[in-house]
Symmetry: C2
Subunit: 363 residues, 2 copies
């Protein structure tokens, strides 16, 4: 059973909670990606300590490795990963189509080849949702068709129609499913897709096909367009977004849920979030800087280690630094969502957002 409660609104920004099969989360919510069944460099215990409430894994990657049987026999993804929070699974449509792994695609199914061993897979939209459920996912995402950016109007229309047709079959196949709107960056088409997805009716509504190279203003506009169409009483999920400022802008436009590899990928690339913007931990400035990564942060990394030590581990290729940095960056975003939620509930989101963005210098 899926239940979403909208608790407060502050202009368009929303604070809510949702529950699925007894597992709960508060929105605005950020989910780290556990694409292959693990959040990079972190364990499930780390996620719990950081305050992660939900994560998203990827059925496309998991199908190829370890394969559905291994996960089913483990008792599903929660048991396999030893993770008791909420698990979303992505359909893999994004990977299959955008990364060119598919062999063929038609209105009935996708066919793709494993990049690991060449095995061929065939999947209808309904099967895609069924597989997510067999893997023990709490919330399945529709198989969608995502056009590249930029695309011709004609291609966008085709992908929109295919997405809607697939969404109907996904809806029939599954019990807790989020629909995904496409429509590229053309407002009229984005609205149309969102309406069609709304009409089918889902537990939640996602905005797909953004954050793939379009200008930020266009992404914000498409977000507004979709959220205006989506029903008030259901959660809205903007897929693939992870930078602090983007998250606040999307919350400001009525979005509730996000996922991205951005915090952990930045960490592994030595880019650390602080309230004044990103810093490069390998810079010689931090050689004898005995303050935490972000003074004032109370994540496990900042409570225990200094910039000087983490920089030393990084320069010495001691892998533990990646985990320390990933814990911090992910905590930074989770904490930002918690503070955002509080600000919304206090009708103070506008000031909160302005203060944050003024202090945070994004590069």
């Amino acid at each position: 059973m899926f239940d979403f409660q909208l608790e407060s609104t502050d202009r368009r920004a929303r604070a809510g909670t949702f529950e699925v099969d007894g597992r709960k989360a508060e929105t605005p919510l950020f989910m780290p990606v556990a694409t292959k069944g693990g959040v990079k460099t972190l364990t499930s215990e780390d996620l719990e300590e950081i305050g992660v409430q939900a994560l998203i894994s990827n059925v496309y990657h998991l199908l190829m490795r370890p394969g559905i049987e291994i996960i089913e026999k483990a008792g599903g993804l929660h048991d396999f990963m030893n993770w008791d929070g909420i698990i979303f699974t992505d359909s893999g449509g994004f990977q299959m189509i955008r990364k060119g792994f598919e062999s063929s695609i038609d209105s009935e199914k996708v066919e793709f080849k494993s990049e690991i061993d060449g095995t061929r897979y065939e999947m209808t939209p309904g099967e895609c949702v069924k597989i997510q459920e067999r893997m023990g996912s709490d919330i399945a995402m529709c198989l969608d068709h995502c056009p590249s950016y930029p695309s011709e109007r004609k291609e966008i229309i085709e992908s929109l129609e295919r997405t809607t047709s697939w969404a109907k079959r996904c809806r029939e196949a599954g019990s807790t499913v989020f629909g995904i709107s496409q429509g590229g960056t053309i407002s009229e088409l984005r609205r149309k897709s969102s309406e069609q997805i709304r009409e089918i009716g889902f537990e939640g509504y996602a905005i797909g096909g953004l954050s793939i190279g379009e200008p930020k203003e266009v992404m914000y506009e498409m977000t507004s367009t979709a959220n205006e169409v989506f029903p008030e009483e259901k959660p809205r999920y903007l897929m693939g977004l992870g930078s602090p400022v983007d998250l606040l802008e999307a919350v400001d436009r009525g979005t509730d849920i996000f996922d991205s590899a951005y915090p952990t990928r930045n960490a592994r690339h030595k880019s650390i979030f602080t309230h004044e913007g990103k810093i490069r931990i390998d810079k010689s400035d931090y050689k004898s800087d005995y303050a935490p990564l972000d003074p004032g942060c109370d994540c496990p990394t900042c409570e225990n280690y200094t910039k000087a030590y983490i920089r030393h581990l990084c320069k010495s290729d001691e892998l533990a630094w990646m985990r320390l940095a990933s814990v911090h960056n992910l905590y930074f975003i989770i904490d930002l969502m918690e503070k955002t939620r509080k600000a919304i509930k206090e009708n103070d989101f506008k000031r909160f957002k302005k203060d944050f963005i003024e202090s945070y210098k994004d590069s």
Copy 2:
């Protein structure tokens, strides 16, 4: 202040405790190596959770990076690493001499070149101990001269004499210092070196220059030879030993303290310790093996994860598996030392050792 208490003996095997500046450890004791100021893939919190009581870092590596000033300004190694257990530091003699990093060596000093940036360092034996103390080490190791295996008698004698002459200066320079015996694999010379080191007088006595390629029986014999010479009332430390069976054999010959990269290096090479011997975690046998790495083990990894999941992370190049494996292997050895200690106190070491070795198939 350094204090060692011998609590029980069981034939030649010993159980004791030692304290240095308020920090305590129980023997037999295994120390992981934090060569560059961190145990590979682990944090200080991990070490605490595993039950590590002491670790050994390396002055040679730390001198080159991050440099002594960075560590001094941090308040010493304990603060730099956020580690409140005991810290031994190795002199780096082993690295300088055996790995061919030295530029020159004479009776007065060693000169070596940084492998990082080519900086030249010059160090007398006394300075080596002083530097360890400036870094905040609890227990400094003498600068010793370690012959290769095999070496000619003449070379062994030379290194023995140099080691003794340096040990005297190290003794004068430091307050809590362990002497190191050399003498290669010639019993007469090993005894002579041990006697000379004993005569100088140290807080503890180490056996150096073993576990570098000589046959195991020879290593065991040299261990017996040195321990027969070393005083009963001081701890004895066999450097560089880490495999479970070797540790038990060395305890059986009167040794108290050990260090090695063996558990964590094996982990990173996918080799996992179990009570039945080592297993390769990437083997397809474990694809759907939902038991812990070592059933019966109560380390954090075995309490939370299955072989199937860790194998999946490993095959997927998800770095977290290295940490999970390192936690397990290190815990395995720490736990083995605790059980050994208990067996000695119960006068049951002989049976304990026999049972362990019968079940543990080393490859």
